[in-house]
């Protein structure tokens, strides 16, 4: 998709307007895309006047703590997007100021299993459609966000929903609201009650995507206007509370959902202030604030099992990191949970246990977003719970579950690693110079085993800030007497000419062969491929996923921004001190990146050595195996 920059529209350099700018879009019927609208469908701004332009003009209230939120930049222009962002907008406010409002649109309640709002998607769209712009000549174009990552979600009901969002500065929004309120008053006079009522269901929908509880003043203004739907809102809020955990890959730029998630949250995270626009859909919290808080709460947390709590704390503090380690820790915690579990009266074990597991998972997500390995493991556990025959007694069921989890850990992780090592050592020849990046557990095992087999090779460990994980690997290799060289990623093109093979680990491998791994892996793989050095990725099959990712942006994890602004132990070069809250400076500490399959020579899994094109086959066979098991 080409992005066309509108030359006139650049007011704020932080805001990039990209996409297809149209002057007007008089759509009266619902169209999946693109539709002219720019903010999320707050029902209150629905005007019945039938003005087809830009439905909802009231933007969502901003997070209170940030007055300096930069305008949302449309990311489509960036090299990112083969992912299907189609954005844009151009609006002329009555007061003449421009807003950039491409927003990332998140699907409304894309994963809420509850069916309390059945026609959510359609309705919200309809709301968006029918709401209108007060006659201010606003022109908007819809913003539709369909991140590829969302495709895997339960797309049953909510697929068509495309609630729209936009971010604007406070002043602009205020102006907007004033204008709209005026228009609304005018429109109401025309007997706009009917549409409001009809969109009452929409209102309920919109409740989900808006922030009913947000006390911000703008919202109140808006809420006041929508008198009709407000009762519905109250009712809906109750239902919302009962819902399950927020989807693990929730889009964090939708503030309503963030708020809702926070309400349920155990871990009180404070959002980081200064965030890069491109990554607004990922959660970013202030690091280090929650740990002491959580620690004090350790003995008070009734609904939370202590084992899960402990694991969560370990994630938060970074004690446990790495796909396998996290997954195993979580599964062992779940084993504890199962052991201590007793079915409450009038509940079935299947449902109740699943609900409990879901709540624990949401806690873990709050501590640190799930990795793909953990996601697959959770799916397995839930699957096993669901498949428990009703006739089993509680103790039998618990024993079965525990042994299932044990089996999973053994077969899919521990034994898989042995098989991977067995295959990989056949590829190591005497005289090899092997390069590895970071600290992948599988690769470490391969190197140690090869050394035991008395193969003569040396290892080049490439490392990068801020985690400096390579040093851990280096220590372990040196202890065994392996000849190692250590360097930073800046030097990777310098040393690549003497490397014969590159061994990398992966957090996950996606269906199109893309390897999703620690940030920096893609660079190493690309340099290796430029030097025609074969790149071998060692990854257990349980980490494979059927989703497809084309870039590193739509799904990632943001780490602690302070980690990159400071260098530990080097206070003298702390030049960024005091600038962390500067509005002009945003820190971006990505944790993962996606390596395209062209740079990968082979993937070593417990199914053998396969080319990257065979990953969907393995995923398919894997599911089959699971459904039979």
């Amino acid at each position: 998709m080409e992005s066309r920059r509108n030359p006139r529209a650049v007011v704020d350099p932080k805001v990039r307007q990209v996409g297809f700018f149209t002057s007007s879009q008089p759509d009266s019927t619902y169209q999946p895309d693109p539709i002219a609208s720019e903010s999320h469908p707050v029902v209150s701004s629905i005007s019945p006047s039938g003005n087809s332009l830009s439905p909802v003009m009231i933007p969502p209230p901003r997070h209170n703590s940030s007055d300096t939120f930069p305008l949302r930049a449309a990311a489509a222009a960036s090299a990112v997007s083969p992912s299907s962002f189609s954005y844009s907008t151009r609006r002329d406010f009555p007061d003449g100021s421009m807003t950039a409002s491409p927003g990332r649109v998140s699907r409304a309640s894309f994963s809420k299993p509850s069916s309390s709002l059945p026609g959510v998607g359609m309705d919200s769209m309809a709301a968006a459609k029918s709401s209108s712009v007060p006659a201010s000549g606003l022109t908007t174009v819809s913003v539709v966000n369909m991140p590829p990552g969302l495709s895997e979600k339960e797309s049953d009901q909510k697929k068509n929903s495309k609630p729209l969002k936009e971010k604007t500065t406070k002043a602009e929004r205020r102006a907007l609201q004033e204008a709209q309120r005026a228009a609304k008053a005018a429109a109401k006079a025309e007997g706009g009650k009917a549409p409001l009522v009809s969109s009452g269901s929409v209102a309920s929908t919109n409740v989900k995507v808006t922030k009913p509880a947000k006390p911000s003043s703008q919202k109140n203004d808006v809420a006041a206007v929508a008198a009709g739907p407000s009762e519905k809102k109250g009712g809906q809020a109750e239902k919302d509370r009962k819902k399950d955990a927020p989807h693990p890959r929730m889009q964090y730029d939708d503030e309503s959902r963030v708020v809702k998630a926070k309400r349920r949250a155990v871990v009180k995270q404070t959002e980081a202030k200064n965030r890069v626009e491109l990554f607004r859909h990922l959660p970013q919290y202030e690091h280090g604030t929650q740990l002491p808080d959580l620690e004090t709460k350790f003995f008070q947390l009734d609904p939370m099992h202590p084992a899960v709590y402990k694991v969560g704390l370990q994630y938060l503090s970074g004690d446990i990191s790495g796909g396998n380690a996290r997954c195993i820790a979580m599964l062992q915690a779940f084993q504890e949970v199962v052991k201590d579990y007793s079915t409450p009266s009038e509940k079935t074990l299947n449902r109740d246990m699943t609900a409990k597991i879901s709540s624990y998972v949401s806690f873990l997500i709050e501590c640190r977003p799930l990795s793909v390995s953990m996601g697959n493991a959770i799916r397995f556990v839930k699957n096993r719970i669901a498949k428990l025959p009703i006739t089993l007694s509680e103790s039998e069921a618990k024993a079965a579950l525990q042994s299932d989890i044990e089996r999973f850990i053994n077969e899919k992780i521990v034994m898989a690693d042995t098989v991977i090592v067995k295959h990989a050592v056949t590829k190591i020849r005497d005289g090899d110079v092997l390069l590895t990046y970071g600290s992948p557990t599988a690769v470490e095992m391969v190197l140690l085993h090869a050394h035991e087999l008395k193969k003569k090779f040396r290892v080049l460990v490439v490392d990068s800030r801020p985690k400096l994980e390579g040093q851990l690997l280096l220590r372990r290799l040196i202890k065994r007497g392996i000849n190692c060289t250590y360097t930073h990623i800046n030097a990777v093109s310098y040393i690549m000419h003497e490397v014969t093979k590159v061994f990398l680990g992966a957090s996950s491998v996606l269906s199109n062969g893309t390897v999703y791994s620690r940030v920096g892996t893609a660079s190493v793989a690309m340099v290796a491929s430029a030097f025609r050095v074969p790149v071998l990725v060692c990854c257990e099959a349980y980490k494979f996923h059927e989703r497809v990712q084309l870039d590193s942006i739509c799904s990632n994890e943001l780490g602690d921004p302070n980690a990159i602004s400071k260098v530990r132990g080097r206070e003298d070069i702390n030049y960024l001190d005091g600038l962390t809250n500067n509005a002009n400076l945003q820190f971006l500490n990505l944790m993962y990146d996606a390596t395209p399959s062209d740079y990968i020579s082979m993937i070593i899994t417990d199914y053998g050595m396969v080319p990257p094109t065979s990953v969907p086959v393995i995923v398919r066979e894997y599911q089959k195996e699971h459904s039979l098991v």
Binding site: T426, D430, S601, G608, M609, P611, S614
Partner: protein, 386 residues
């Protein structure tokens, strides 16, 4: 550094020559050693290529019929002495192998089927063990032949991958297994015909085909095309030092197909007038690449650069669980190279008989499973080995 470990775990390390291997594993031999000293293969020349060299002179269809008839007629061998087991397998295999039109792997498959038939095992486990032993013996007979190894392995997987093994009645189970074995033999045997039929669509009137090496599958394809009255011409590379080009040219001339012989170096020169390149394969590896006679990689590279399609015709039993990362990652297979003049004593000769062509240079694979892209090989193997 001449020792290379194959990515495929071969049994030869255990069965055959532990003594000759260890010195080379411990320390790389000095570079000045000639290849012959280091090669642990008992025959300094790959037996596989020796056989092929013998076969190249004889191609008739009578042999084919005889071979087929022989299958039916072949009496059950009664060999009560366990010690004679391996012998009989090799003997049978040899019998089959001598027929020039029968691919080596098919011969092996037939031999293994005969093992089942002649087996006196009373339990499934015993039968499987016998089969495994026979298969290992066959594989160790010539470790450089990829299709042989692959064929044996696939046979084992195919035959044992049946629920018949859970039958309580051993005889029924054995009959079932035998049925599968013979079916596999049939499939493998007919593979060439199927491939020939499938590839007819790709040969159009007036096309120019470049061929390298003497592959019976490719010959079958061209024969069928000629029989279907297609007008095409063939450019044959000389195929030194095997002289495959000359032999192939002779065969094609018999079919009245216009043939032109090129020296191996003239491939890039003539690539402009070529419409497609067709190779056979010694083995198709898991990445989708092929292992074929030396020179294939070169031609594939040139063809790819000049945007000519490269087709590989290979039967499905040639899918091997190998995954070479580069040229040297294969089992070395050597053959004598005759330069026509004596080579000075201090000069080394590259005697490898085959090379590896990575999948990105191949357009399509013609197999008896259909016309496939190279990435399908791994899919098939995964499904079979899962």
């Amino acid at each position: 550094m001449w020792r290379r470990s194959a990515s495929f775990v071969l049994d030869k390390h255990h069965n055959n020559k532990p003594i000759s291997l260890t010195p080379s594993l411990d320390s790389p031999p000095p570079l000045s050693d000639s290849m012959a000293e280091v090669n642990p293969n008992p025959n300094p020349v790959s037996a596989y290529y020796q056989t092929r060299a013998k076969h190249h002179g004889i191609v008739t269809s009578d042999w084919l019929e005889q071979a087929q008839a022989a299958v039916v007629r072949y009496p059950d061998k009664d060999s009560p002495v366990a010690g004679r087991r391996p012998f009989s397998v090799i003997e049978e295999f040899d019998n089959w192998r001598q027929q020039p039109d029968l691919a080596e792997a098919v011969a092996a498959i037939r031999a293994l089927a005969a093992v089942i038939r002649a087996s006196e095992a009373t339990t499934m486990m015993e039968l499987e063990i016998e089969l495994k032993k026979a298969s290992d013996t066959l594989k160790s007979w010539d470790t450089t032949s990829i299709s042989l190894t692959a064929g044996c392995d696939l046979f084992m997987r195919y035959v044992t991958r049946t629920s018949a093994l859970e039958f309580e009645d051993f005889n029924a189970a054995k009959a079932r297994v035998l049925g599968r074995a013979e079916k596999f033999g049939e499939i493998s045997y007919k593979a060439r015909k199927i491939i020939a039929v499938l590839s007819q669509d790709f040969i159009f009137d007036g096309c120019t085909i470049l061929v390298h090496g003497f592959s019976r599958v490719v010959l079958e394809i061209l024969k069928t095309a000629a029989q279907n009255k297609k007008l095409f011409r063939v450019l044959c590379t000389e195929g030194r030092p095997d002289k495959t080009g000359v032999l192939l040219a002779k065969e094609l001339a018999k079919l009245d197909v216009p043939v032109k012989l090129l020296i191996d170096s003239a491939v890039a020169y003539s690539m402009d007038e070529v419409d497609m390149v067709i190779f056979g394969a010694d083995g198709v590896v898991e990445s989708g690449g092929v292992i074929n006679m030396m020179g294939t990689y070169q031609i594939a590279l040139v063809a790819h650069t000049m945007n000519k399609p490269v087709y590989v015709a290979a039967e499905s039993y040639k899918f091997a669980r190998l995954y070479p990362l580069d040229q040297k990652d294969l089992e070395p297979a050597l053959r004598p190279v005759d330069f026509g003049v004596p080579v000075p004593p201090k000069v080394e000769v590259e005697r490898s008989a085959r090379d590896y062509t990575p999948p990105q240079y191949l357009t399509m694979l013609f197999t008896d499973l259909g016309v496939l892209t190279p990435s399908v090989v791994s899919d098939e193997l995964i499904q079979l080995y899962l």
